[in-house]
Amino acid sequence: MSGISILGLEGTAWNLSAAIVDEDDVIVENTATYKPPTGGIHPREAAQHHAAHIADVIRKTMENGNKIDAVAFSQGPGLGPCLRTVATAARALSLSLDVPLIGVNHCIAHIEVGIWKTRARDPVTLYVSGANSQVLAYRAGHYRVFGETLDIGIGNALDKFARSAGLSHPGGPKVEELAKQSTQYIKLPYTVKGMDFSFSGLATAAQEASRKYPLPDVCSSFQETAFAMLVEVTERAVAHTGKKEVLLGGGVGANSRLREMLEIMCEERGVEFYVPEKRFMGDNGAMIAHLGLLMYKSGYSTRVSESKVNPNYRPDEAIVTWR
């Protein structure tokens, strides 16, 4: 192994993950996933899970004695207790290895790992996960948010609806599976305001509809409505920025219907569509390490005194030093 290599720590929500990457590839990655016994993610319990497993995950990642030039970690956005647990480990590791610490923005890490793995160059990114739903594109030193959810993330909306319908966490894949058996469309609220979208009204309406209509039909109508909103705003951002590429990122990006819809939109607009392989879509340590590497090479590091986590860290606040 030559060149720079960075250890990255991710643990903003239910997935705890550590990875070492160099400029070419992911060298090693280890993950421990918190699975709630019932219901959704409890922030404190997820943090306790991370605290119990982080030493082990880091030890396994480092056991081959790979060189580490810096330690990168998710500084936000995410669940406060989870972020604090992982940041504490990152600070301790950086001090004990005597290498720089690099606090990274979790949303931007999703974009950069997607660009790295698909060889997209300057895309409009649709980033969809449990807590986040944003349309982003790079312009003049920042990743700008062109559109975003006004209330909850698309993944949370799917989970909320799925739980009420008696489906277990995470609900998204189960909704997707059931939707395939649908035979009719049920009208649900479609909310796009300018460049923003909203999902909480849709989730509530779907809950009510599931008492009257077959569940597969409600699942399908929910997906069709929510994804049409996301694709519409993505298309607007493409038209507005004149960019020629669309990148999909985040855990909900695993949904094949969403991919299909984006693919059709991109084809009709004549732009390229990129999706990284599944392991780089959901939260992963490699994306944090990769963004850490880009930042490290641009000369960036985070002093311990400035390494406080920020649960509401917006991607457009981060100054892009590596582009």
Partner: protein, 191 residues
């Protein structure tokens, strides 16, 4: 027929002195969703164009509305973008004051969407317009316009201050909105 515009959701054609705006089908979404969105938005847009005119904001006269199509008067004016000065910016402020006073948010205020014809300023393209009276929505509305000033006109500071004066002349909640616009700017969104 000449195509004069091709946006994310509509094609705009000119036939004689009539503009035809057609919302195009999107194959990525279900037919039911696609048609209901296009129908609702076409109807809303036509309604808000007429509503704005009743509130004293010059807009094109609507000639016909069908499911996905609006036929309207062609305004043969000069885009504000090419001729803006502080006097016209003040006049723009008065115009947007009237619009907001009327409860309408335009959603896409740029100097390309304002045309000067016979000394009168017309507002066009209500494709993203909606009815809303919150300070936030109005703040975003004028913020988007200030961003156009900043990106395309070197004397943007004078233009913005002239706009604010005009806006306050016709809209009594202007101060609140101008205050909110500063906050919106500091959040750094809406590039």
């Amino acid at each position: 027929m000449t195509i004069i515009g091709n946006g994310a959701e509509a094609v705009i054609a000119l036939v004689g002195n009539t503009v035809i705006k057609t919302r195009i089908q999107k194959h990525y979404r279900l037919k039911e969703i696609d048609e209901s969105i296009r129908r609702d938005r076409t109807r809303t847009e036509a309604r808000l164009i007429s509503e704005a005119r009743r509130c004293g904001v010059p807009t094109p006269v609507i000639r016909d509305v069908t499911d996905f199509e609006i036929k309207m008067e062609y305004i043969d004016g000069i885009p504000l973008k090419e001729i803006i000065n502080t006097a016209l910016s003040g006049q723009t402020g008065e115009l947007i004051g009237c619009l907001h006073n009327c409860g309408i948010v335009h959603g896409d205020l740029t100097t390309s969407n304002m045309l000067l014809k016979d000394g009168k300023l017309f507002l066009i393209d209500f494709g993203l317009a909606y009815l809303e009276k919150t300070v936030e929505a109005r703040g975003v509305d004028i913020h988007v316009l200030f961003q156009t000033f900043e990106s395309t006109h070197t004397d943007h500071e004078e233009l913005i201050s002239a706009f604010k004066k005009g806006y306050a002349r016709t809209f009594r909640h202007a101060d609140e909105v101008i205050e909110r616009e500063k906050q919106i700017e500091s959040r750094g969104r809406y590039a």
